[in-house]
């Protein structure tokens, strides 16, 4: 695989959207993302010299698309000559005529990025590879850049990307011609993969919190909301990612200490991201469909409003959690609901809700819950509120045993003897 043009140089000649737009158009023809990337990389190399000599063309993206498509057509033609299964001349001409910017408004390349996103989140692709594929195909990130942001070995990312692209190529033209209905049914997987790029399950313990893919996930969530403006969940996802990202600066104090949400200083939240999140949440309601991501975003916004004003609407939060448990039950969601219930009906009710999850403080029963660190943190908190100090300390020690993050360990061990 050709290594792409230097990212800084690329940014000067290609807009943020340009890479994904061109890749989507070219790869839609045969499903070959690697081939499209190689062609576009080669076109970018040529652009650097050609534009330096003659000045940039009026429509740089149209130029790049044209050159990259020509390179692909040469490959298709030679493949057609060698085998009978590759694209035939007629198909090549149709692809050409259908998408050639010369036949249309030169500034209006058709946007096939939703199809590209859906291909990246195709059921045949391993779920952990889906976000990687989006970052590569839609945003043009190199394996090395992705590896650095996710703290994975570059060779591992590279191997996963190659495998995933082979799978997409195996889908062939099916990727280029999904009908609208099929695309809609694939949206949940697209949302999930974008959320996966944001909420990276860090595979390593690290002294410093990692930034990961925040900027990229924000971009992808805005993109999918822009491509499916009528879908409530696309805005729900964008709202959730914007609101969560807004709080990142407040997760650690200046001296690197862990700061739980309830103790965060709202002045350290990013105002621009918070406002963008709020706007997307308004769109969720306009669409009239509130799904898992919309509910999670609404829950976050209510928590944030409560911290800012000093008064949290707990009954409303409980209703949202009940809805969330219906739509997308999860262990994390159930533990959060128990925490909210404790605020509405008291700590004993919260403890009872924890126990109802199969939580057994002796660790004999449901391993899943008794090995779930947040459940022990909450248990310790509720027992403290009930004045059951010894049990609280025991629960806190258990939470500590299951915590590998140094800053969080320090926070949990404060006051323990």
């Amino acid at each position: 695989m050709i290594e792409y043009a230097d990212p800084a140089e690329r940014a000067m000649i290609l807009s943020e959207d340009g890479w994904g737009r061109i890749i989507a158009l070219i790869a839609a023809a045969d499903g070959d993302i690697s081939g499209a990337e190689d062609a576009l990389s080669a076109a970018l190399e040529r652009a650097v010299t050609a534009w330096r000599a003659h000045g940039p063309p009026a429509n740089p993206e149209g130029w790049l698309y044209r050159v990259a498509l020509n390179a692909r057509r040469d490959v298709w033609r030679s493949a057609a000559a060698r085998t009978s299964t590759a694209l035939d001349e007629e198909t090549i001409d149709r692809i050409d005529a259908g998408t050639d910017p010369a036949h249309h408004d030169p500034d209006a390349l058709p946007d096939r990025r939703l199809e590209l996103l859906a291909a990246c989140a195709h059921p045949d692709i391993d779920p952990p590879a889906r976000p990687l594929l989006m970052l590569s195909a839609v945003m043009g990130m190199t394996a090395k850049q992705i590896a650095a942001a996710m703290a994975l070995p570059a060779a591992t990312v590279s191997a996963r990307l190659t495998r995933a692209k082979k799978r997409v190529a195996g889908l062939g033209v099916a990727f280029g011609s999904p009908d609208r209905l099929d695309l809609e049914s694939r949206l949940p997987d697209v949302f999930e993969a974008i959320y996966g790029a944001f909420a990276i399950e860090w595979a390593q313990a690290a002294a410093q919190p990692r930034e990961g893919m925040i900027g990229e996930a924000l971009y992808l969530s805005r993109l999918v909301a822009e491509l499916c403006p009528g879908d409530g969940e696309s805005h729900g996802l964008a709202a959730l990612i914007h609101l969560s990202a807004a709080r990142f600066p407040a997760r650690r104090s200046d001296d690197g200490r862990f700061v739980p949400l309830s103790d965060q200083n709202p002045d350290r939240w990013d105002g621009t991201l918070t406002e963008a999140g709020e706007r997307h949440l308004v769109e969720v309601h306009r669409c009239g469909h509130v799904g898992r991501f919309g509910l999670e975003a609404a829950i976050q916004l209510l928590h944030m409003a409560g911290i800012r004003t000093g008064s949290t609407d707990w009954p409303m939060l409980l209703r949202l959690h009940d809805d969330l448990a219906q739509v997308a039950p999860s262990l994390g969601g159930s533990v959060s609901r128990a925490a909210v219930l404790a605020e509405v009906d008291g700590p004993e009710a919260g403890l009872a809700a924890l126990d109802a999850l199969g939580f057994d403080p002796d660790g004999q029963d449901d391993k899943r819950v008794s090995a779930f660190q947040p459940a022990w943190v909450l248990r310790a908190h509720l027992l403290t509120r009930l004045g059951r100090t010894d049990e609280a300390a025991t629960a806190r020690r258990r939470a500590l045993d299951l915590t590998t993050d140094p800053a969080e360990r320090e926070y949990l061990s404060a006051g323990l003897t």
């Binding site: 070995p153 860090w202 595979a203």
Partner: protein, 144 residues
């Protein structure tokens, strides 16, 4: 209770992966992060990353006399690459650490409880471990 995190991975070489100098440095940095986290949690007993297969000597007296030979003979796809011994209350805690081991992105970790450990000149079994300062003697959820 002591657990060994036993790490198996393909060895770099002719048939194995060929990480670059940069890949090595990157992995060393991640391993170092892990080591710092283990140390600050106070759970690490020892951590050895092993030299390649080819530098191994085997010693046996099975036939009655001492025989020292080069290398183990079985060439497996994945070889023993390292061992991290940690002291944590139970398997759940051991797994929490194993999940964070950076090498799992290219190899596998086996998590095994110690049956008995030779500590400070004596054999200790998980049940009769002496209480160390900072330990909670009656921890529910522990297997003791």
């Amino acid at each position: 209770m002591r657990y060994s995190l036993i790490f198996h991975a393909p060895e770099p070489g002719a048939d194995g992966p060929a990480p670059t100098e940069e890949d090595f440095r990157e992995m060393m940095r991640l391993m170092d992060d892990f080591g710092q986290a283990l140390t600050s949690a106070g759970v690490v007993v020892a951590w050895e990353m092993l030299a390649p297969h080819s530098e191994t000597k085997t010693v046996t007296r099975r036939t009655g006399e001492v025989v020292i030979e080069d290398g183990p003979f079985a060439a497996a796809k994945e070889a023993l690459a390292g061992v991290v011994v940690i002291d944590v209350p139970d398997i759940e805690a051991a797994l929490a650490w194993a999940e964070k081991f950076p090498g799992t992105s290219y190899g596998t970790i086996e998590v095994r409880p110690a049956a008995t450990s030779f500590v400070d000149g004596a054999w200790t079994r998980p049940g009769d471990e002496p209480t160390r300062p900072g330990d909670c003697p009656s921890l529910p959820g522990g297997s003791s």
